[in-house]
């Protein structure tokens, strides 16, 4: 190889694009030619400089969670066609039967937004639990100990992971973590007396949806990155 040929192959050499024979011939030449050796060194330095200086910092820690949540939200609509007719019927039925529930006060809106925001904090990360249990009975028992009301868990088509105490919009509640088909769900359990009459029935924000309901003593809010029609199916019939 001549010096001119070597100079034309600097990039291919530095990038590991030469075949074995060419690389050996080039390096053998450089071993006997100080100027070509210096060119090779300089080429390598330029490549190292770009690798070192142009390397951007690592992505922000929340980006993976954000992407996972976006994928989860995108995943759900694909199932929608099968549910679409039922979803429409459910939505219409709920809209008619519970119109009063839809006309929420400002308080309900505020609480709904706070609950959605609280769930968003846990999306994509392992939640900090005060009790880590997968048996609903143990979680229910713990909630009754720490909350000053008869907290009960509704039957949900999801796997419990644990729970913690929580204060949302100034209201103390139990927060139970669930997982359903790989997606995190949050169930907020309130004392009806403290939750007030304006409890959110539906709310949505940033791909997250909330479903609220209650009984004579408790109010529940279920939040997750699944469409309202699917969220509607998570609570059991009991």
């Amino acid at each position: 190889m001549s010096c001119g040929e070597i100079r034309a192959l600097l990039d291919d050499w530095a990038d590991g694009e030469l075949d074995e024979g060419a690389r050996r011939a080039l390096e053998a030449h450089a071993a006997a030619c100080p100027e070509c050796a210096r060119w090779l060194r300089f080429e390598k330095r330029v490549k190292d400089l770009v690798a070192r200086r142009a390397r951007a910092p690592e992505p922000p820690a929340y980006l993976e969670g954000r992407i996972r949540a976006a994928i989860a939200a995108r995943r759900a609509p694909r199932r929608r066609p099968a549910w679409a007719p039922l979803a429409v019927l459910l939505a219409v039925g709920l809209a008619v039967a519970g119109s009063a529930w839809w006309i929420r006060s400002r308080t309900a809106d505020t609480l709904g937004r706070a609950l959605l925001a609280d769930h968003a904090k846990y999306a994509g990360v392992v939640p900090a639990r005060e009790i880590a249990a997968t048996e609903p009975e143990r979680i229910e028992s713990w909630l009754r100990e720490v909350l000053a009301f008869d907290a009960r868990l509704p039957s949900l088509d999801a796997d419990p992971l644990g729970a913690r105490l929580c204060t949302v919009a100034g209201k103390r509640c139990g927060l139970v973590f669930y997982e359903r088909e790989g997606l995190p769900l949050s169930l907020f359990v309130f004392d009806r007396q403290h939750a007030g009459s304006a409890f959110p029935g539906r709310a949505s924000s940033g791909g997250l949806h909330l479903l609220g309901w209650g009984d004579e003593a408790r109010c529940y809010a279920l939040v997750g990155a699944i469409p309202p029609a699917d969220l509607e199916r998570v609570p059991g019939k009991d």
Partner: protein, 187 residues
């Protein structure tokens, strides 16, 4: 493969390349918020098309290809503020046989000489050359993989990288020379 299995596979093989997607998105998008949007959009598009991905092939190159298409659509009409160098003029500037190589006076200090200058010089390159060089030097992709990402023949990739390096060689050498860290003396 069931949908659930495909979802698991996607998370296992695709999310592992988030750092690369992020870096290239940042290089193409400019600001961090644009890069975040671009990275998210890339993963959503990849998720939708994951059925077409063949396990065992280069997932990172596949993701970066999607990213490059999205960036091209998004920034098609955006004018760059940084003046772009005419690197075509550098095409034939491989060091000639008679040309003396720059002599680095202090090998150890040389790499530490440059900070933002490298990025400033990179910003002056046309998008195609800059992207090819970053994929090569920062992401460590082979020329064949860069071909796949950029959708152009290997000769074009080689030419873009050669021109970008020639430009950088000249600028960095001039900068180092001005600081007294390079000389042209022959050994």
């Amino acid at each position: 493969m069931s949908r659930a299995e495909r979802d698991l596979l996607f998370e296992a093989v695709a999310l592992d390349h988030l750092s690369s997607v992020w870096r290239v998105a940042l290089a193409l998008g400019g600001s961090e918020s644009e890069a975040e949007d671009l990275a998210q959009e890339t993963y959503l598009r990849a998720y939708e098309r994951f059925r077409t991905f063949r396990p065992g092939t280069n997932c990172r190159a596949w993701l970066l290809t999607i990213l490059r298409h999205l960036a091209a659509d998004r920034y098609r009409s955006v004018r760059r503020e940084t003046p772009i160098e005419d690197v075509d003029a550098l095409e034939d500037r491989a060091p000639r046989a008679a040309e003396a190589p720059p002599a680095i006076e202090n090998e150890e200090a040389f790499l530490d000489l440059f900070g933002d200058e490298v990025n400033a010089f990179l910003r002056r390159l046309p998008d195609g050359s800059r992207t090819a060089l970053l994929l090569c030097d920062v992401e460590g992709l082979s020329y064949a993989e860069i071909c796949q990402v950029l959708g152009c023949p290997v000769g074009t990739v080689r030419s873009r990288i050669h021109r970008a390096r020639a430009f950088l060689r000249e600028r960095l050498a001039a900068y180092a020379r001005s600081l007294g860290y390079l000389s042209e003396s022959r050994e």
